[in-house]
Symmetry: C2
Subunit: 360 residues, 2 copies
């Protein structure tokens, strides 16, 4: 069938051109006589791939020289462990709970030290982001942790906490590369690649170098940033295919889109089409505090759960797939990451209008 | 250029037919309108892929019903941590050190309890496997750990330790699926997939179910077999592409090769060609105790390191790549995993004969 518009929260759409390149190179990369999937990670060919991927990431995100990059298996969930195991040097850390994943990160960190929940928006069902300047941060906290875009609830931080002397750690899994980011505001950025970058199977950590080297001796080697980063992500065999695919996406963003400023412009425009429609009628509702609306994940509900179900089924028939909201919240969610084309969103809105005419 | 014969120790060759299928399905899997790389791991399409992959693994390896299967990120190196964190319930375990990876596994386990090195072949440079029946195992050890095929040194266990009441844990990264395996002899089998199965980025654990459920509360969730396996390897987003590729390889072994008995026959025949040649002349030497020779990794040296270097360079020019031995041992190593065709080995031997004629 034709390529569908895939609104999955992750894994999710990749740029069609990136997939085409991967397909054309699958049997043989360059003139190597091998697939990237077969290549020794110690070969000069793969060495060039991983170095080029890191260099592109550094250029696209303007990563300062005093930050190190690690390609790490296990997704963001493994980062929930690695962050406290490596950075919780004072025995405590501050967590802002603004959704499911920040909650999981906080619970996981509590295995390794004292977790201070300095903000929690559960009582408003995570529909808004707290005012980061009004929060009482803990003196002596090792770091402040946020999940910058909340995939399930469709919110995002427009301003991030900045606490004097306390590094900010941000899970950017569902917003990385969606807009320019001032990396210098962060001590550590991490993200699973499966939403906006590459197939599932890897996280990338961007760590300010003064935060390295403080893990306890008995931390598992595979959970030690310093061990992994000092070995240039080759402490063990890295997920070579994910790294290669990450490189292809970065190349596309850099050379075809023109970088993150343009990427943000396109993402803002896509989100505006959908939110403008949602605000223009009464059938579908978006519950999120307007200034905190995510430009990556747009949630909405119809008048009742049965109609939600009907909507998702009819949408799938029409080629708009994975619009069902997360089981924690129900309703619908349209994840419109970088690779979702503008016409996918425009056509979805057209479909929603038609649906309302027929069933509204 | 033409497809090379890739003798890499891992990542390594995949079956050409598997790569061709992956290429043909890359833009769209079935009639899903999506690539497997873009697919929600919660979709019914991917659910069928992961279930089929596990079912095939169970059939091909004849895994008994009281064993669970987990698809886990982080390779064998992460298993070095997971094994003691989940199974070292008595505070100690026995390790047989027969090479680099069993040594790393033992060192990592020592972070979490007492490691008894009950055998160590370092003094003979790991060129032989100890007599497993002559070893003094430790009463009260939680498990006995081996690395069943030693990639770097080219040895393998032909008989595995069987200690009454003490589960055997085996790292089978470089021999899995190379021959039939009696899974019931093991408490836990694990292997990184990047040598004999799929692209790098995943390990598979096969765990006897009575060994689950004993990890301490503060073990990282991502290192807890029970957490991962109870969630059907979906505790977090799994490495979907690796799982899909694993399924393709298993399908090929099951349907095209005809299963592991036939696979072993072919592997034995390939290894015999190379070892017979090595034993027939004096220029190249294999240092391994004959009964312990690996059928997956064949090591050899020429008379001196300069000639080794020349050999590897000339071989690469002729389309035999990655023959350089591991940096720990030097010399050469031909990794002849399942996907190395018989003609690759025959042609390598022909090349070696020609090399000796010219430079011997």
């Amino acid at each position: 069938m034709a390529r569908v518009y895939n609104f999955s929260a992750g894994p999710s759409m990749l740029f069609e051109q990136v997939l085409k390149t991967a397909q054309s190179e699958l049997m043989e990369y360059g003139s190597s006589g091998q697939s990237v999937m077969e290549m020794s990670h110690r070969s000069s060919t793969f060495d060039a791939i991983i170095k080029d991927t890191e260099a592109r990431l550094r250029r696209v995100l303007s990563i300062p020289d005093n930050y190190k990059v690690g390609f790490i298996q296990g997704g963001a969930s493994t980062q929930f462990d690695m962050v406290p195991l490596n950075l919780m040097t004072t025995g405590q850390a501050d967590y802002l709970v603004t959704g499911n994943f920040s909650n999981r990160a906080a619970k996981e960190a509590a295995k390794f030290g004292k977790v201070n929940i300095v903000a929690n928006t559960k009582d408003i069902n995570y529909t808004a982001i707290p005012d980061v300047d009004a929060i009482q941060y803990t003196p002596g906290a090792s770091y402040v942790h946020i999940c910058e875009n909340n995939t399930i609830f469709g919110t995002r931080f427009t301003k991030v906490p900045q606490v004097e002397g306390v590094p900010l750690v941000s899970d950017m899994s569902s917003c990385i590369l969606s807009r320019p980011t001032d990396v210098s505001k962060y001590g550590l950025i991490y993200f699973g690649v499966q939403k906006n970058v590459a197939p599932a199977g890897m996280a990338i950590a961007i760590v300010r170098e003064d935060l390295l080297g403080h893990a306890a001796q008995n931390v598992p080697s595979m959970l030690n940033y310093t061990t992994l980063i000092e070995a240039d992500s080759m402490y063990n065999t890295p997920p070579c295919w994910c790294i290669y695919m990450t490189g292809l996406t970065l190349k596309y963003i850099e050379e075809e889109i023109g970088g993150l400023a343009e990427m943000e412009k396109r993402n803002n425009a896509k989100a505006k089409v959908l939110y403008d429609y949602l605000d223009s009628q009464e059938f579908f509702k978006n519950p999120v505090n307007k200034p905190d609306r995510s430009i990556m994940n747009v949630t909405f509900t119809s008048p009742d759960p049965d109609t939600d179900k009907l909507f998702c089924a009819k949408a799938a028939e029409a080629g708009f797939v994975n619009l069902k909201g997360h089981r924690l919240v129900g309703g619908m969610r349209a994840s419109i990451y970088n690779a979702m084309p503008a016409e996918g969103v425009a056509k979805l809105v057209q479909f929603m209008e038609d649906f309302v005419k027929q069933y509204g």
